[in-house]
């Protein structure tokens, strides 16, 4: 138990004003879909790690402070510590802040600077790897009876026109962690260049009333889609540029309008914001309902914070500390490594766990059989991720328009190729089929759009496409980009289920199962479990 809780085990909960390392216990069910961490024999988990004095303090403070400790409420003024641990169903997530503790009082990432009471931190919670798990959303609904600003009508409900007191009106957020994202239609510009879309869009099905109504759909110059929030951490990797070209689009990388440098294209699901300033302005106007504009000082402070935060799983329930016995899991390696390196010609992706491929007998003897087996499984999972090849077919961004061919044999690291992080060194817009038929699962609670290509047909779907979310096409205006979604971050996965942009995988096994049925990979049951265990350690 001591080993599992790692460096945070002796510290109390990070109540407001606390500085340093904190450990917060897991919720009842793990985000990876696994049972919660078992308590110590004869003692509840919370009692086992929380000093009595802290419990007494907790019982005596105000009602608002008795809200779940994991939750960072807008404007609460806690100090963000240099190292912060949160337990989850798979172990412990650690978040590091380079430069030491930071007061959040008055900080624009943490203050409700918009009109709806939310702050950036509302949807980018430290306990959830700076994203937001559906489990946390459900806790907030229960804790506040739906009155948390998180459930703001603008995007925290299935559609603002629905009765907001009704839990069913927030079902997409509560069940799958999906926010409504309103994109302009038709697309008029991309990276400052004028765009005339080469496709039309029609609403086939609208279960939530937004896309067929007069205010939020194409009739009002909008398209409403539903997506998971992306983690705001490990940002230097998401901003890193490895090569000067975007081979998926067939151009040199676009230039940042602020500093003139090439843009990575890996920030947002549909690549609509190429730098953090544009992303912040987009988020402030839409999610925070900020009436004015962010000031340059606010933008600078948010950027400063976001580029100093690193998060990753630090301790595994199954394996113990992820930086033990030669392994280098956890966020410190992320913080200390150079971003943007291609794993195939440098440090192999997930080689952080290579030392666990062969654990010396003397070291193995110090581990329980279960811990040894789990570590070996994590190491095998990394190998499977890199080396198990399969035929990738009909996937725009891979099989078209670039010349890899359709099909092409490769492995997970074909796209998840950046050392330490597993995102794409090139801009990562790829159509896995997660949002588009026939590959997408049949989600009846999502809108369905009919896309008709006006010029060349889509290279794989043809002229008419049925999709829940056109993805990158809503930014580029190109039919060939329908269904492309920027690759997801892979760190801190255990803290932020469900997965994929539309939350289709409720747990880590769901990710593997989606790939298996999409590409008929032929993973063995052992390989599937090894992949799940490896991803739980990221």
């Amino acid at each position: 138990m001591t080993e599992r809780t790692g460096g945070g085990s002796a510290k109390p909960l990070p109540f407001r004003g606390e500085v340093g390392v904190g450990l917060v216990p897991p919720r009842g069910a793990g985000p990876g879909g696994q049972p919660p961490t078992p308590p110590l024999k004869g003692m509840g988990f919370r009692s086992a790690i929380i000093p009595a004095a802290v419990l007494i303090t907790a019982l005596s403070i105000t009602a608002s402070a008795r809200a779940p400790e994991r939750w960072w409420a807008p404007g609460e003024g806690r100090t963000f510590p240099a190292s912060l641990d949160y337990a989850n169903g798979q172990g412990t997530l650690r978040t590091l802040l380079v430069g030491g503790p930071m007061p959040t009082r008055g900080h624009p990432f943490f203050e409700p600077i918009g009109s709806n009471g939310r702050a950036c931190v509302t949807c980018h919670q430290p306990a959830d790897a700076m994203s937001l798990s559906a489990a946390t959303v459900r806790e907030r609904w229960e804790a506040t009876r739906g009155n948390d600003p998180l459930f703001a009508a603008i995007d925290g409900s299935n559609c603002p026109v629905l009765p907001q007191h009704d839990k069913a009106s927030h079902s997409l957020l509560i069940e799958r962690g999906l926010f409504r994202i309103q994109r302009p239609w038709p697309v008029t510009s991309f990276n400052g260049d004028p765009v005339t879309p080469d496709f039309t869009i029609e609403v086939v099905r609208d279960p939530n009333g937004c896309n067929s109504g007069p205010h939020y759909g194409p009739a009002a110059g909008n398209v409403s889609v539903y997506r998971r929030p992306r983690p705001v951490a490990n940002m230097k990797y998401l901003l890193a540029v490895g090569f000067p070209f975007d081979p998926k689009q067939g151009y040199a990388l676009p230039l940042d309008p602020d500093d003139g440098k090439p843009q990575s294209g890996n920030l947002m699901a549909d690549n609509r914001a190429g730098n953090l300033r544009i992303q912040m302005e987009d988020a402030a106007a839409s999610h925070l309902q900020l009436m004015g504009r962010l000031t340059p000082a606010q933008i600078a402070r948010i950027k400063d914070f976001e580029t100093r935060v690193y998060t990753a799983q630090q301790v595994s329930n199954g394996a113990g500390p992820l930086d033990a016995l030669g392994a280098s899991g956890g966020p410190a390696k992320l913080r200390d490594s150079e971003p943007g390196a291609l794993g195939s010609i440098g440090v192999p992706v997930w080689s952080e766990f290579a030392a666990w491929e062969k654990i010396a007998p003397a070291e193995a003897a110090k581990l329980s059989p279960a811990e040894l087996a789990f570590r070996q499984s994590v190491a095998r999972g990394a190998r499977v991720f890199r080396d198990k090849t399969f035929l990738i077919t009909d996937t725009a961004g891979i099989n078209s328009r670039m010349g890899f061919g359709n099909p092409v044999r490769n492995s997970c690291v074909f796209c998840h190729n950046m050392s330490q992080m597993g995102n794409d060194v090139a801009p990562g817009q790829v159509d896995l089929g997660t949002t588009t038929q026939p590959f997408a699962d049949p989600w009846s609670d999502l809108p369905l759009f009919r896309i008709t290509c006006l010029k060349a047909p889509h290279p794989h779907y043809g002229r008419v496409i049925l999709t829940y979310d056109p993805g990158f096409a809503l930014t580029s205006g190109k039919c060939a980009d329908v269904g492309k979604i920027t690759l997801q971050s892979m760190r801190g996965l255990s803290a932020r289920a469900p997965y994929f942009s539309n939350g289709l995988a409720k747990d880590l096994r769901g990710i593997v199962d989606y790939y298996e049925r999409r590409y008929n990979i032929g993973y063995t049951e052992q390989e599937k479990q090894d992949l799940v265990n490896m991803m739980s350690a990221l």
């Binding site: 540029v241 490895g242 090569f243 000067p244 070209f245 081979p247 067939g250 151009y251 040199a252 990388l253 676009p254 230039l255 003139g260 090439p262 943007g340 390196a341 291609l342 010609i345 090849t389 035929l391 009909d394 099989n399 078209s400 328009r401 670039m402 010349g403 890899f404 061919g405 359709n406 099909p407 092409v408 044999r409 490769n410 492995s411 074909f414 290279p459 794989h460």
Partner: protein, 256 residues
Amino acid sequence: MRKALTLLALAAPLSAQAAETGDLVRFIACPVYRDADSGKKSGCWLASDPATGGRYDVSQSPYKPDWNFAVLVEGRLAAASPASCGAAVLEPVRTSRLAAPCVRHMLPAEGFPGRKYVLPRRNINPLSVARPLPPGPYAERVFTTWFEFDRDFLVYQYDDYQIDNAVTWIRGAKPAKLVVTGFAATTPETVSAQQIAERPEVAQERAESIAQTLRRLLPGMTVETKWEVGAKPSSDPDADGIPGQAQRRAEIRAVF
């Protein structure tokens, strides 16, 4: 000498039945994928010339087929053993995806190993690798990029390499402007009993595509565009001696 040899190669007649090493073959066919597995990107692409029935290994093309669509195959018969994929090897070779649909077909490896992937020679370095500027003196110079049939898409590990080299030279040479000319092979030709020709507008699309890339890589540089149809083959050796490839191009002229 190299230029003369290239011109000689480009002047070689098209042959319906390639029998000799170095002969050019050109045909349209539905591609077949052989699932040979020697690791990443190791599968084989095969295509049969409908005029002869001869099957060729076309795997070495910088832009590879899509098993759902016909391909225009252009290549030269190589002396290499057919042992990798089970067919006569075309090298160099190009396989342009056409619009005509095909029934997708995959063969098992059948004992053929395919080819273990190696980085192509036209492969750019990461940005972290310094690019020394070439020494002067500098004078007007033309760099060429190459395209798939009727496409304007920048070819990975081919065009990016050419442009990366061009941009490095241009950064050192500091010309007054760049003139990008797109070419399209619009003169109809009969291949495998089908008449094919590139769209005239692809010439402009190629020029604009390359110009857009140059404006991003060389901010502030004046980049003008032109386009020509009825393209004649370039003698540039980076077309690898394939006449069709030598027509489908865009030229970047550095003007002082």
